[in-house]
Symmetry: C2
Subunit: 299 residues, 2 copies
């Protein structure tokens, strides 16, 4: 069984220009649940003006937690203690925290060095532990940074270790700008799994240069069992305008099912969830699989 | 060293709606030669009204053979003896012949059963041998047929064998509708290489569902050294309207270079050849790598 963490409603929508209504986002999440997704990142508790698409985080999470099944995990991104407190007041049971391998990237992204990001994360992780809230960690730019270029594997290891030391249950290793190539993916996973339990590592690929499915194929060979993905390939790449971002959940499911691997996801229902949200965003999908499916109806 | 057979000017353009002038096609081929491609399928000697994009085959090949280096192979597709005679009168030194694994497909495509297609091919192969013209064979629908669905691996083997028996120097095994998945690719190549020399087998993938790079990755693991590809991903998929067709040569080169494999191709120059022809076709590329390159200038 391979676990998919659906990041479309948060990581995907965050990079879409069209601002959607809360009802549309809720309906999207409801369709994702109906398609069999069991871990769906709902929103991000940032200061309202920072990311306009996330301005309705409180309303959206409230609706989701009231109406959708408790058996599904609905993690939310939390940048700091203030965001955590809001999340906690809504009964959020799982949060995600964020850092990267490059100071320039964290500086530009969250106005903090890596060390400063860990100060925020450790504050959050401490109270989360007290509250029994699960914490997931993201390491961005693990395969390359838009500002600093190549990334030292030692940096990936050390940042991952610091996250685990703070008690995160899983680290998602992210190819934020979609530059990872298969040999690098294999080397990175081998280095990581020599230090950490493979079952606590997730891979987060962007399909900016079309190699996400190949990188996932290699990750499977290296025994990774959790992948982040975004329905319909929602989300662009802010570092390569006009290029694609997150790998589409459909692409991941198509590859996995061709390998005989179970996900519990109904790919046709998933495609309908994507069709719904893409129509609200007035955009086409960048997923080749999904385009072919929309045109032929054949999986 | 991995060999790329560039099929953009023939297989790619044949599936493009915008009919180009001979000068534009010639310039495209000239740019491809400049980028380092050493095997470029130029055109197809079919009856003029059959494929409007190929109506200028005689003029185009004449220009190419006069102006471009003899060190580059410029194969042409030849459907029958009449086409061969035209090609021969122009001094064509390499031809390609075509069959498939499914009678329904060959019936709809060239109005012949597989057996009838072999009658035509054997006539052509015989005179080509006499003339010292090299012959390359295509097996279409080797991974799935738009009409008959799944394809029996025994059929792929038997059709490939019949082509080799007629003296072709290489067989290109084609995923005409882009349904091949990695496990199937591995099984197919393993079956083929147990019967035929691996160095005489080429893989021809379409990226209709986004798995072409992964299928190429698996092919490399199985020791395939020749791949067909189409610059810029020219050519759609006639069996899934709006979907993508041939894998882009840039996508193949990007993957190969990330694996440390040489092709002799300058990917930036190749991208410029694609940019030129895409502008003449008034269309965007479906290659994610190329889109990111056009937007960032970074390989």
């Amino acid at each position: 069984m391979i676990r998919i963490v659906e990041v479309g409603p948060r990581d995907g929508l965050q990079n879409e220009k069209t601002i959607l209504g809360t009802e549309e986002k809720f309906r999207f999440i409801e369709l994702l649940v109906g398609a069999g997704l069991r871990s769906i990142e709902v929103t991000s508790f940032v200061k309202a003006p920072a990311i306009p698409q996330m301005a309705d985080a409180v309303e959206l999470y409230t609706q989701v937690s009231r109406a959708l099944p408790e058996t599904v995990a609905f993690p939310c991104l939390v940048p700091n203690l203030k965001g955590y407190e809001t999340a906690r007041s809504l009964g959020v049971r799982e949060i995600a925290v964020f850092t990267a391998t490059s100071d320039t990237f964290t500086k530009k992204n969250i106005n903090a060095t890596i060390d400063e990001s860990f100060l925020r994360i450790s504050e959050v992780a401490e109270v989360a532990k007290r509250d029994g809230v699960r914490v997931r960690g993201y390491v961005s730019t693990a395969f390359g940074c838009p500002y600093e270029g190549a990334v030292d594997l030692k940096k990936v290891i050390s940042v991952t270790k610091r996250l685990f030391d703070l008690g995160v249950y899983e680290v998602s290793v992210g190819d934020t700008i979609g530059v990872a190539v298969p040999a690098q993916v294999r080397a990175t996973i081998r280095a990581l799994k020599s230090e950490f339990p493979i079952g606590q590592l997730a891979m987060h690929f962007h399909d900016t240069r079309g190699l996400a499915p190949t990188n996932i194929y290699v990750s499977l060979e290296e025994e990774i069992t959790t992948f982040d993905a975004s329905a319909g390939g929602l989300g662009g790449c802010p570092y390569a305008k006009g290029a694609t971002g997150n790998v589409a959940t459909e692409d991941v499911c198509y590859l996995l099912s061709s390998q005989g691997l179970e996900t519990g996801i109904d790919i046709k229902k998933l495609a309908e969830a994507s069709r719904f949200i893409l129509s609200k965003l007035h955009r086409q999908t960048d997923s080749k699989f999904l385009r072919a499916f929309f045109n032929t109806g054949i999986v």
